[in-house]
Every structure is written in structure tokens, then in C-alpha cells.
């Protein structure tokens, strides 16, 4: 969505002068106080876990068993399948929407604009309810996989269309003018000159957008598709260990998305491209 520059430490460090002896002392005192407060906070949280009996081994021991992790891994595979399929569909659809919007054919431009804004302006949960509750009313039976994948893909396609458009806009105008003036058709200019560069510009953003797709797949339990979250819910009913399981799953999701974000930043760094959101 927003253009995000990488957090360069330069401005952050430029804000402060090299601290003198008094400032150094004050920073040291501040560091000590905040460290103590944070430790206290952590201790309070652990205490609350202990007082409410949530540290009892029966809530955590099942996490040491292989079948637990095998089941979670199966869920993870489900998550990956949905995320990658939805991502692939969204790529194609997003590209098509962007091409339509920049085609210059008035009705097509208007249509693609409305569709893009619609999918960007609607929560993905609402789209999932559409495929889960509304589509079957018209006699269309869909497997749970598609009831989840299609809405996630549609929601992402709106965003990706805008990402692609930002990439196209980042290609210098002079190149388009040059291509047209040597006699290339507008379509050929797009295909041969603009798109190859635009796609390279947006690759890091596309990777970053996978995070949104992964997040959207977590509501798979609405359509009872066995993804990571749904399988965790099954484990919870088996072991009666709600808090520990949900905490572990949340941490897994955070790590997955963190890794995707890092990959995006790495690719952006390698190719010298800014991440467009």
C-alpha cells in the first residue's frame, strides 16, 4: 500500500549528538530502569501463567511428541498449498487487471478500475463468506480448498494490480516514447519494453504480498479446510490445551511471515529495488 523505504539507521542516529558524560549517564540510567521494568513485566506474565495453572506439564508435554508435529506439519502443507495456489491465481489476475486498466480502452479501463477497487475495498473474510455461504445457494458445489483459495486470490489480485501499476509507472516515460517513435505498437511497447522492467521492479513487493496471502488463509476453519490453524484447533480439542497450542501456532505464523518479509528485503537489496506497498 504505502511506499516503504528501508529503515536506514542514518536518520535515527543523526537525531542524537555523540552523548557527553551526563547524557551517557542518563542513557545508562534509562536503560537500567527500562530493563528492570521489562523484566518485571515478563515476570508478571509468567506469574499469571503459573497462578492460573497454565504452566502445568499436561498443557505442554504433547508438544514434545512427534505425532503432534506431524499433524501440524500436514496443516502447514495445507497452508502452503492454499497460499501458493492463491498467490499464482492472484498474479495472473492482478496482471490482467493492470493491463486492462492501462490499456486505454475506456470501458475496459473503467471495468478494471471498479474490479480492482472492489477487491481492495472489501475484507477478505467477506469474500470467504461469499464463497462459503452465497455461492452454494446457486447450486454450485465447491471443495473447501477452492472456497478458501478463490476469495484469498481475489482479495490479493486487487492489491497486486496496484503493485504492478506502480511498477509500470516506475519505468521512465522516455522509454515508452522512444519505443512508440521507432514504430512499436502500444501493445508491443508494453510487452517488450515496459513489462519486463516493471516486473523486475515489483518482485520484492510481490514476495512481501505473500505475507498477506498467508495471513488470509488462517480463516480456513470457516470452511473446515485442514490448514495449520484448523489442525491446531483439532489438537486443542484432543489435548484440551488451548492457550499453549494457540501460542505456539501464533509464533509459527509470525516466524513464517517474518521469513517471507526478510526474503523480500533480501531480494530488494540484491537487485537494488525499493519495496512498493
Amino acid at each position: 500500500m504505502s511506499t516503504r523505504t528501508q529503515t536506514a539507521p542514518s536518520v535515527r542516529t543523526a537525531l542524537y549528538e555523540a552523548p557527553g558524560p551526563r547524557a551517557k549517564r542518563r542513557i545508562a540510567i534509562g536503560t537500567a530502569i527500562s530493563a528492570v521494568l521489562l523484566a518485571l513485566l515478563a515476570a508478571l506474565v509468567v506469574r499469571q501463567f503459573y497462578v492460573t495453572g497454565q504452566l502445568a506439564p499436561r498443557y505442554w508435554s504433547f508438544l514434545l511428541e512427534w505425532p503432534t508435529w506431524r499433524f501440524l506439519l500436514q496443516g502447514f502443507v495445507g497452508t502452503v498449498e492454499v497460499a501458493l495456489t492463491a498467490g499464482a491465481i492472484a498474479l495472473v489476475l492482478g496482471l490482467a487487471l493492470m493491463l486492462g486498466r492501462t490499456s486505454g480502452i475506456a470501458p475496459l479501463v473503467a471495468l478494471c478500475r471498479v474490479v480492482t477497487d472492489f477487491f481492495r475495498g472489501v475484507p477478505s473474510l467477506l469474500l470467504i463468506y461469499f464463497f462459503f455461504l452465497v455461492v452454494p445457494q446457486y447450486g454450485i458445489q465447491m471443495p473447501a480448498f477452492w472456497m478458501l483459495t478463490l476469495p484469498v486470490a481475489l482479495a490479493a489480485s486487487g492489491v497486486l494490480a496496484e503493485v504492478f501499476r506502480a511498477g509500470v509507472n516506475a519505468v521512465p516515460k522516455g522509454q515508452v516514447e522512444a519505443a512508440l517513435s521507432i514504430g512499436l505498437s502500444p501493445a508491443k511497447t508494453m510487452r517488450r519494453i515496459v513489462l519486463p522492467q516493471a516486473i523486475r521492479f515489483v518482485i520484492p513487493s510481490l514476495i512481501a504480498q505473500l505475507v498477506v496471502v498467508v495471513k488470509d488463509t488462517t480463516v480456513a476453519y470457516v470452511v473446515s479446510y485442514p490448514d495449520l490453524m484448523q489442525n491446531a484447533r483439532v489438537l486443542i480439542t484432543n489435548y484440551d490445551a488451548l492457550l499453549s497450542m494457540y501460542l505456539v501456532v501464533a509464533v509459527i505464523y509470525v516466524l513464517i511471515n517474518f521469513a517471507i518479509n526478510k526474503a523480500s528485503v533480501y531480494v530488494a537489496h540484491r537487485t537494488g529495488v525499493k519495496i512498493i506497498r
Partner: protein, 219 residues
């Protein structure tokens, strides 16, 4: 079901849903802004533990799926004897998620200010607080208008998480599932809620763009 029939039976639900979405969005966004400022202050502070906490906060809440966080707050926290009512659960979830992105917006706003400006300000003798008040904050705010507009829309879309807990009154997404489990509302039942979101998003981004054009710093 025809439109008239649908609105006749469930019109009030949709209206309440729209108002619930709007009010949760507004309340959440106020707290998002406050918390985003606090987190950003922590992230640029010279105190190492605070900076670490700020970074951890942003990484966690930027990457956690909304549903996972909502479930933790709504169903796991009560096991620690922290019980919040459903509406508060949704708002807290949205605020935690939104403030992480808000802080990222502020950070990139700060980073667009040239290091030279800060050095210049210091060399003419401005103090640290003066630099923040007269140089950094005004510029950071101006460049973040558009990202924050997008964040406001994202906050509104995130309140759809409210459909995953028994809210009353329900918000727009919850109304769709409510109507469709009771009647065959068809595509119309879905479109009414969708329009509620899309039109609101349209108004927000229109106002945001106008505001941005007025305050933007051309570089």
C-alpha cells in the same frame, strides 16, 4: 430474495452493522495512532531495551495473522483470567495490528527527512526537542498522510474479524453470515455489505488524497 424483501427483513441489521463497523473503525484508529506514536518513540529512543521492545512489537504484530491474534485475545486470555468483552477483544486486536503498521509509516516518514536537515538544525543551535518539534515531526506527519489514509482503510477491513466472535450488534461481515444462515439472501445480501465497505473506503481515500495534496512536501 429481492432487494426490497431483504432490506425489509434485515435492513435494520445492515444499518446496525454499518454503524458498528464505523464506530469500531473510528475508536480503533484513535488508539492505533496513539500507540503507533509511542512505539515509534520507543524505536528511535537512545535506550536500548526500549528500542528492542519497539522492534519486537512491530515484527510480531506485523506478521501475526489477525485471526490468530483475535483467538488468542478472545479465547486464550480468559485462561489467564483476563476476560474482555467481545467488542473490546476485536478493538484490541485491530489496535495491536494497526499500530505496528502505523509505526512503520511513521518510521519511513522520519526516514524521508534528510540527515543534512537534522545536522543543519543542530548547527544553528536547536536543541533535541526543538529539532523534533520544528523539523522532524511536522515533515514526518505531512509525508504520512497518504500511508495513514491507507491504514485507516486497512483498519476498517480488519474490523471484519468481528464476525469471528459473537458481537452484538454485529458488524457488516457478521451480518452477511447472519442473514445467509437464516435465509437464502443470495448475491444481494453480500453486495449490500460489500458496498458499505467499498463506499466508505472510497470516501476515506478521497478525503485523504485531498488532504495529501494540500500538505504534501514536493521534493
Amino acid at each position: 430474495m429481492s432487494l426490497a424483501e431483504l432490506l425489509g427483513t434485515y435492513g435494520q441489521n445492515y444499518l446496525d452493522g454499518l454503524l458498528a463497523t464505523w464506530s469500531m473503525t473510528a475508536i480503533s484508529f484513535v488508539f492505533v495512532m496513539v500507540l503507533a506514536v509511542l512505539v515509534t518513540v520507543a524505536r528511535v529512543s537512545p535506550v536500548a531495551p526500549l528500542r528492542g521492545l519497539g522492534e519486537l512489537y512491530v515484527q510480531v504484530f506485523r506478521n501475526i495473522p489477525g485471526v490468530a491474534l483475535l483467538i488468542l485475545i478472545a479465547y486464550a486470555l480468559p485462561q489467564l483470567r483476563v476476560v474482555l468483552d467481545w467488542r473490546t477483544c476485536v478493538i484490541v486486536t485491530v489496535v495491536l495490528l494497526g499500530s505496528a503498521f502505523g509505526s512503520e509509516n511513521f518510521m519511513s516518514g522520519i526516514n524521508t527527512i534528510g540527515v543534512g536537515q537534522i545536522e543543519a538544525a543542530r548547527s544553528v543551535g536547536l536543541t533535541f526537542t526543538q529539532i523534533l518539534r520544528h523539523i522532524v515531526i511536522p515533515q514526518a506527519l505531512r509525508t504520512t498522510v497518504l500511508p495513514m489514509t491507507n491504514l485507516l482503510i486497512a483498519v476498517m477491513l480488519t474490523t471484519a474479524l468481528g464476525s469471528q466472535v459473537p458481537l452484538s450488534p454485529q458488524e457488516l461481515t457478521g451480518v452477511v453470515s447472519y442473514v445467509n444462515t437464516r435465509a437464502t439472501g443470495g448475491i444481494l445480501a453480500f453486495l449490500i455489505s460489500a458496498l458499505g465497505y467499498v463506499l466508505t473506503a472510497f470516501v476515506i481515500s478521497f478525503v485523504g488524497n485531498r488532504l495529501d495534496k494540500r500538505v504534501r512536501i514536493l521534493r
